[in-house]
């Protein structure tokens, strides 16, 4: 299977503080990869390095086959990114945001129009095109952001805490959408601190204090640790007396 994301000993230090400590992983095409960890574990820093927003202190990685240090230009047109903070323009209409990002990714007028219709149908955004983005309920704003990240059919979608403070029902709907996208061949690299959502992922990794403490399918992790839910798996791993910490590299 083709790998779309690969890292080797990727690290990021901010002065004395090591935010990301030698992470090594591989993500396969079409996979839904859950990048888990508590707040402050270093998830956002790692994602930003993969997107080419932040330069690593050491280590290496490739995204969509291109080097994340020297070839960030090539990476940009092949990935989509939804940041933790909402980052569409709240004062503009939904359709304005869609057109803006589509054009930024180089979609021609007609291709853009078609793509907007496609994604709007999928995400039920069509009736909201004329609304001011900031006036929509939070869950719908996130959908609009997801659409904007997807217009150019990226190989990989980086989603940093996409479900934030959305209610459980909306969260489920969101994950249904993610799965539809993955079924279409897009690799999804998603971070979240909601452990229950992680069940939807093909494989997950758990970051603790900048290191990857565990990386496997949800089921394998549950079996190994003998815990029934990923939430408890996580708590178990964080426990300093746990042996699994020393096992995993």
């Amino acid at each position: 299977m083709k790998t779309t994301i690969e890292t080797r000993d990727l690290s990021k230090r901010f002065g004395p503080h090591t935010a990301v400590d030698r992470i090594t992983l591989s993500v396969y095409q079409g996979e839904i990869f859950g990048f888990l960890g508590a707040n402050g574990a270093g998830k956002t820093t790692a994602i930003r390095m993969l997107c080419g927003l932040l330069e690593p202190t050491s280590g290496s990685g490739t995204v969509a086959g291109f080097d994340i240090i020297r070839q960030t230009d090539r990476i940009r047109s092949r990935i989509g990114y939804m940041s933790q903070k909402f980052s569409l323009y709240s004062d503009l209409r939904v359709i304005d945001n869609l057109r803006l990002y589509g054009s930024l990714y180089g979609l021609g007028k007609q291709a853009l129009a078609r793509r907007i219709d496609e994604l709007s149908a999928l995400l039920s955004l069509s009736p909201l095109h004329g609304r001011i983005t900031g006036s929509l309920p939070w869950g719908w704003q996130q959908r609009a952001a997801l659409a904007c990240a997807n217009l150019h059919r990226p190989e990989i979608l980086f989603l940093d805490e996409p479900t934030g403070s959305v209610d459980p029902v909306a969260r489920q709907t969101f994950w249904d959408l993610i799965q539809t996208l993955a079924a279409g061949g897009t690799t999804i690299f998603v971070t979240t601190h909601h452990m229950d959502e992680a069940e939807n992922c093909g494989r997950i990794s758990i970051m603790i204090d900048g290191r990857i403490a565990a990386l496997d399918t949800p089921r394998a992790l549950k079996e190994r640790t003998g815990k029934p839910t990923l939430h408890e798996v996580f708590l178990h791993l964080v426990d300093p007396h746990s042996e699994s910490l020393k096992e995993r590299a």
């Binding site: 080419g52 940009r76 990935i79 990114y81 980052s87 569409l88 323009y89 304005d96 054009s103 930024l104």
Partner: protein
């Protein structure tokens, strides 16, 4: 290139989306224009004058009449004593007090070292004080000279033989000495600076504060495209404001525009290189919008005070004048006034153009480089 056009479109969309902002860009400008046009004047008129006439003779009354009948003064009548006059000055009811001594009529007949009158001046407002006193002295001199002429011709002497040289003064370019002709053209400099300097910086820092900056950086767009795309709309608005400003200044206020509109635009463009550069600079160094505001305000006040807006650069000490050599506002201020009132062209002002260009390229280049480095 497409990227830049896209960002320009986005910026205009933002302005359209916020109607209050658009009104705020236009209305204060108009208000400033009207206030500066009508109120901003250093012309010293209607100075309240009080007189202590210890002489009470036809001569002293004639002297008083020469002042009281003049528009420049508001005659508040006579005070009984110098103490009373000083009390009036204390309260601010009068700004000038003329004290005519008791033996005025006798002394003034003498041709040499004749009478002395005292002029008490409220020195709080140093400028108005000296101008008002200057007017009073000039009027008194004229009265004296006319009187002398009559006196001497009565004796068959032509006063011109006693004073073989005379000096006349003529005012060019602004014969009515209207303050508005000097201040309104200068206002365009302030307007352009605020629009292109302050609003640009604000616009850029807003992206960072909102988080949309990061989102944009993940797309194929480069930081340079973003910056250029942001400054062009404000430059356009700046030019539009200049046009509106020109219309109002000439049609409503009757300020003469003796120069060439294209020359004005040329200099405005050169100036904008610097002001836009400052906008980029502040947005790079600052973290929040408040910081951008205070930094820009700080820089602007510094530059404007040392630009000759209120007070001529030539009056400043030499070391300060040297500092103003790198002040782009000084040159633009000078140039705008020359174009308006003297009709000067590029041939007369090429030195200023060169200076502004050099400063602009340096500031803009440095700011852009800093922005680029920080965005990586």
């Amino acid at each position: 290139m497409n990227f830049i056009r896209l960002i320009i479109w986005k910026e205009f969309a933002h302005i359209r989306a916020d109607p209050l902002m658009s009104r705020l860009i236009v209305l204060p400008v108009l208000a400033q224009l009207f206030i500066v046009g009508y109120a901003l004047t250093m012309e010293v008129k209607h100075t309240p004058l009080v007189v202590v006439d210890r002489s009470a003779t036809p001569q002293s009354r004639s002297l008083i009449a020469s002042l009281s009948s003049n528009d420049l003064f508001v005659y508040r009548g006579t005070a009984a004593s110098e103490e009373q006059a000083r009390a009036l000055l204390d309260r601010g009811a009068a700004k000038l007090a003329l004290i005519i001594p008791a033996h005025f009529a006798r002394d003034i007949e003498r041709l040499n070292d004749g009478a002395h009158v005292q002029l008490l001046i409220d020195g709080q407002d140093a400028n108005s004080a000296s101008v008002a006193a200057g007017f009073a002295s000039a009027i008194i001199s004229q009265w004296t000279f006319a009187r002398l002429g009559r006196q001497l011709s009565g004796q068959g002497i032509d006063v011109a033989t006693l004073i073989p040289v005379s000096v006349t003064g003529t005012v060019l370019f602004n014969p009515l000495l209207k303050s508005s002709w000097y201040m309104i053209p200068a206002l365009v400099v302030i307007l352009v600076t605020i629009i292109t300097g302050l609003l640009t910086g604000f616009s850029i820092i807003k992206e960072k504060e909102q988080g949309t900056f990061e989102q944009l950086m993940v797309t194929p767009i480069k930081p340079v495209h973003l910056v250029l795309g942001k400054i062009i709309p404000f430059a356009i608005i700046g030019f539009l404001e200049i046009v509106v400003f020109l219309a109002i200044a000439t049609l409503w206020f009757g300020i003469p525009f003796r120069g060439n509109v294209l020359t004005l635009f040329l200099f405005a463009s050169i100036y904008m290189i610097t002001s836009l550069g400052i906008g980029i600079f502040t947005s790079t160094v600052a973290r929040t919008m408040q910081q951008v505001l205070f930094m820009t305000w700080f820089i602007m006040i510094f530059f404007i005070l040392l630009s000759g807006f209120f007070l001529p650069v030539e009056n400043m000490p030499h070391w300060v004048q040297t500092i103003t050599l790198i002040n782009p506002v000084r040159y633009f201020m000078f140039v705008v006034r020359e174009i308006f009132l003297k009709g000067s062209g590029l041939a007369d002002l090429w030195r200023q153009a060169a200076a502004m260009l050099m400063i602009g390229v340096a500031v803009f280049g440095l700011s852009l480089a800093m922005f680029h480095r920080k965005a990586q």
